[in-house]
């Protein structure tokens, strides 16, 4: 026998002191990963796309394909 007396108090505090910093750090990592992995590239993709977007050309393509209801195709 003669075991050491187990910890009787401060169990929640001990758990919090251990887990809260880890939880905080992991949350920050998750947020940073999402920002640099998802939202960053997405914004960049949109910026690049619209940098060389020729509105008139696209409009004419769509018009020729016949997707508009109020604009007739060219040559009609």
């Amino acid at each position: 026998m003669s075991l050491a007396k187990p910890a009787m108090r401060g169990l929640l505090g001990k758990r919090l002191r251990f887990h809260l910093p880890i939880a905080f750090a992991l949350s920050l990592v998750a947020a940073a990963a999402f920002k640099y992995g998802v939202t960053g590239p997405r914004k960049q993709a949109y910026a690049d796309f619209y940098k060389q977007y020729d509105t008139t050309k696209e409009f004419n393509n769509m018009r020729d394909a016949g997707v508009f209801e109020s604009v007739r195709t060219t040559g009609e």
Partner: protein, 169 residues
């Protein structure tokens, strides 16, 4: 007073068969389930009664020894005293059962049964699927979506190569 003292000597179990005399009011039969019971629960670590109610001679002498200094008790005696008071230790009462296997088996079984029911339903209950699911229709639908430029940045039309008129590799 004397009656209760006599009762505690007789033992808790025996009370159900004997009669509890209360004052001059007559007798009241005490049922087994109405007496304090012993049960192993984590949230109730010290039950109302000891596990072993009728002590053997060895156990009685051990209980007498317990009244003295505990330093004189050997480890086996301490364990014997523990087992008089308690049926299972915390480790024993907390250990898991193998019930989860039955649970998982039941889950799979019922999911399987549901799958069969769904298949039967699909064949015998539901009518035909609308014409918009035919391949011809779908081809026209895809072409229209590409013409409109659905999600041209990161989604649908972004994967189409408009110059070569094929899906991007």
């Amino acid at each position: 007073m004397l009656a209760t003292r006599a009762l505690s000597l007789v033992g808790k179990r025996a009370i159900s068969t004997s009669i509890c005399v209360r004052g001059e009011h007559g007798v009241a039969k005490v049922d087994d389930y109405a007496l304090p019971a012993y049960f192993d629960r984590r949230e109730n670590p010290l039950p109302d009664v000891r596990f072993v109610t009728e002590l053997s001679a060895v156990q009685k002498s051990l209980k007498e020894k317990e009244k003295g200094s505990w330093a004189t008790l050997s480890n086996e005696e301490k364990i014997a005293l523990y087992r008089i008071s308690f049926k299972q230790s915390f480790a024993e009462m907390n250990e898991g059962t193998k019930e989860w296997k039955s649970v998982i088996a039941g889950m799979f079984f019922f999911i399987g049964m549901t799958g069969l029911v769904v298949l039967w339903q699909r064949k015998f209950v539901y009518g035909p699927v609308p014409p918009t699911f035919e391949s011809e229709w779908k081809e026209k639908e895809v072409q229209r979506m590409l013409d409109m430029g659905i999600n041209p940045v990161e989604g649908f039309s972004a994967k189409w190569d408009y110059e070569n008129k094929e899906w991007k590799k």
